[in-house]
Symmetry: C2
Subunit: 480 residues, 2 copies
Amino acid sequence: MKTDKENKGITTRAENYSEWYLDIIEAAELAENGPAKGTMIIKPYGFAIWELIQAELDHLIKQTGVQNAYFPLLIPEKLLQREKEHVEGFSPELAVVTIAGGKKLKENYVIRPTSETIMYETFAKWVRSHKDLPLLINQWNNVVRWELRPRLFLRTTEFLWQEGHTAHATEKEADERAQLMLQIYTDFAKNFLAIPCLAGAKSNAEKFAGAQTTYSVEAMMQDGKALQFATSHNLGQNFSKPFNIRFQTEDSSEKFAWQTSWGLSTRVIGGLIMTHSDDKGLVLPPNVAPIQAVIIPIWKDAITKKEILKKAGSILSELEKNNLRVKLDDRDSRPGEKYYEWEKKGVPVRIEIGPKDLEKNSAVLARRDEDSKTNVNLKNLADEVKKLLSEIQANLLKQAEERLKKNTKTVTTWKEFEQAIEENKFILAPWSGDAKVEAEIKKKTTATIRCLPADQPSKLGKCIYSDKPGKFLALFAKAY
Amino acid sequence: MKTDKENKGITTRAENYSEWYLDIIEAAELAENGPAKGTMIIKPYGFAIWELIQAELDHLIKQTGVQNAYFPLLIPEKLLQREKEHVEGFSPELAVVTIAGGKKLKENYVIRPTSETIMYETFAKWVRSHKDLPLLINQWNNVVRWELRPRLFLRTTEFLWQEGHTAHATEKEADERAQLMLQIYTDFAKNFLAIPCLAGAKSNAEKFAGAQTTYSVEAMMQDGKALQFATSHNLGQNFSKPFNIRFQTEDSSEKFAWQTSWGLSTRVIGGLIMTHSDDKGLVLPPNVAPIQAVIIPIWKDAITKKEILKKAGSILSELEKNNLRVKLDDRDSRPGEKYYEWEKKGVPVRIEIGPKDLEKNSAVLARRDEDSKTNVNLKNLADEVKKLLSEIQANLLKQAEERLKKNTKTVTTWKEFEQAIEENKFILAPWSGDAKVEAEIKKKTTATIRCLPADQPSKLGKCIYSDKPGKFLALFAKAY
C-alpha cells in the first residue's frame, strides 16, 4: 500500500500546517479521499483507531443506562420538515433520494444528516406513561451532510458517529442528562485520548438547529484553533411538541417529554492527530494506539536471525498474554527503515532486540513521544512496557495541558483581544450576551464564541467589545 | 414500550406461520417497521442480539488476518456500471441521490447495494506488487436494496451486514479464501447460533451478479423453507479486469488479481427466530441471548421483600462476576407476569427465589427450551447456571439438527420429488446441470436449487427431471 507521499516525507508544521495535517494522514495510512466529492475512505489503520474509540465510549455510554438501537438511513422529507429551525438548519446540506427501484419516488427521502426526526416519530409510539421514561437510546451509524470545503476527518460529506437520544419526564432531568454526557465526553477526551478540553454552553448563534441549549467540548489544536470535539443538546420540548411525544404522569395528567441528543464523530480523529503529532509523523496516546509496541529484531546473519526471531517471538507472546497490542516486524528490510515506518504511524514504544541484547537477556525500549531509549531486562519486560505506556499516556496529556494553559489568555481590553487573536490564542473575555456583538467580533477577527465555560467567575468586568456590562465569560477562538 | 400485540398474544405456528413470525418480533420487541417503506427500526433488544453476533463474527474474521475499514455510502453511477453483470443484477434495486447541497447533481450517486465497485476502484491503487497481496478487508455497514415485498429482518430496504473483500495473487488462493469464509459462516451458525446449515456452490442461475462461483450456507426454517444464511463469492478476475487491479509478480510480469467477497447480514436474526422459537415466543441460544438468565424475586410482604431483594442482589453480582449476562427483575408486578414477559423474550434461564428458597439457601432454575425446573443450592449457583446454559445451547442445536435430518429427503424419482416438495422438505436429488431443467422445476414447484452440497457422492443416477445423467446432487427447497 505504498504511496508517493510515503517516500517524499512529511511537510513540517512551520512550513505549512494544513499540508502537514494531510501528510500525516497519508503517511500513517489513516484515510484517503473517496470517489464521490467530500467522502472519505477510512483505511485499516485509521479504522482500528476508530474501533478503539468506539469500544471505550460505547462502554462509558452503556454504563449510564443507555441502550443501542438502529434507526433507518432514509427519512421521508415531510418528517424532517416538522421542526422548523431544524429543517432550516440542515436544508443546505441534505442529500436527497428521488429515484428508487427504477422509479421516480412520489415522496423524496433524505439521507439522515442526524436522526432526531426519524427517531422521535417512533419515540412518540414508545412513550405512553412516565414508566417508559427515561428513554435512553444511542446508535452508531453514518450520516451525510453535503460539505463545500471537505477535509479528511474534520469535515466530510459522510461521517461516522454515535448519536444518543433521550426523553425525560422533567426539564431538570433532561438538562442533567445533557450535562452528564458533556462530562463523559470531557473525561473520555482527557483520560483516553489525552486531550484536555474546555466545556460549556454554546451561544444562541452557535447552537444546534432545534436545540434549547447546546453544550460543547472544545479542544485546542497545535495551531491554536479550536476543534469542537463533541456536542450535547438540551432539546427542551422543541421536538416533543411537533412529534407529539407525550406521557401520562403519575397523577394521570398528560405532558410533553423533555429531550436531549448528543454525539461524537470521526472528527475526533482529526483532533487526535492535531493534538499530539509532530513533524516526524503521527503520535498516538497508548490507549488509542492500534499497535502499542512494535518489536524490531536486528540480526547480522542467518544464525543470529534465527536466534533473534525465536526470542522476538517469545517476547511477542509474553506481551500479548499481558493484553498489550503488539506487532513483531520480522520483514527482511533494514531496521532503520522499520523504525521510520512505525514512527510515522505513531506506535508509542519500539522494542529493539539484537545479538548483544540477546547475550545480556535485555532489550532496548524507545519512546515515540520523546527522544529517549532505555535498556530493560527481559525478565521484567511486560511490566516495563506497561509502565512506559502509562508514562507516555500521562506525558502526552501533560504536554497538551501545558500548551492549552500557555495559549489561553484572559483579557479585559479590546486591544489585548486583538493581539491575542493575532497570536492564535484561546481567549477568555467578558461578553454582554448580545448576538450583534458576537457577530461583529466574528466579522472583524474570524473568532467565534466556542463556549461559555461552566466555571463562571462571580464578578465580571465590562463586555470586551461593547459598553454593556459583561454577562458571561466567553471562550473566543478561531475554529475548525 | 408496550404495544397492543403484547396484550393480544402470539399467533401459533399452526394457525398462521407468517403471522407467528411477525408476532414474535413484536412480542419480543426486536424490531418494527420504519417510516419509509421497507425500512426497519431495530429496537434495543433486537440490536443487542446483533451486537453479540457482530462481536463473535468480527473476532472470527479477524483471526484469519482480515482488517476492518470503511468505504463511502455513495457510489458514483459510472463506477457501478463498470462490471456489466453486476450493474444489471442490481439496477432494479437501487436508491439514487440526484440532489445534494440544494443542487441537482451533474452525476448521480447510488446508495451502495454492496461495495464491490467502490472498494475495487481503490484496491487498484493499493495493489501494486505481489507483496501487497493478499489484501484482506472487511467492513460492517448499511446497504440499501429496494424491496418490493419487505419483511422484517428477512428482506428490508436497508439492512446491516459485514462485507469482506479480498484480492489474491492466484486463483487457487482466492477459491481457498471463499471456501474458508463459507466454513467460518457454517461453524459460526452451528456453534454460536445453534443453526445447522448445508453449504455448497450455487447454480449459475442463483449466483451473485458478477461472481464466478457463489457459495452459500442454507438453513432450514420450521416451515421447511430454506433461508440463505450467508454467501461467499469467488469473483475470479471479473472485477479485477474492469477495475484494473493489477500486480507485479516476483518475476516482474503483470497479472490481474483474483478476488472474493462474502457477507452475513441482519437477515440471520430472522433465521434465528424461525429456527428456535415456539408458540410462547422467542427462544434464544444462550450464546446469543442479551440476557442469559433473569432473576425473579418472589415476596409476600415488605419484610420478605427486603430480604429476598438483598439475596437476589447478591446472586446478581455473583453471576455477573462469572461473566454471565443477567438481569434482576425487581419491579413490583406479579411474578407470573414477569415469567410471561421474559418467556416471550426468549431468556434461556429463569431463576426464581422466594422465602422458602431463602430458608433452604436454594433457588429454582427454569429452562426456556423445555418445561423443566430444578432446585439448586445457592453455593453452586454460578456453576449450575453455566452448566444449564451449555445444556440449553446443545439441546437447541440437537433439536434443529434432528429437524433438518428428519425433513431432508434424498429422492430419485420425480414423483417422490413432487411429494416431498408438497410436504415442504429439503430435497437432495440428482440434477443434469442444465439451467432449463432448473427453471422448469422452479416454475412447476417454486422450489429452487439452494446449493450443490460440497459433499458429492461418487455415483449419481439420472437427473430427477430430465433424461440426462445426473451431474450434481443438488439441494432443492422453497426458500425465503
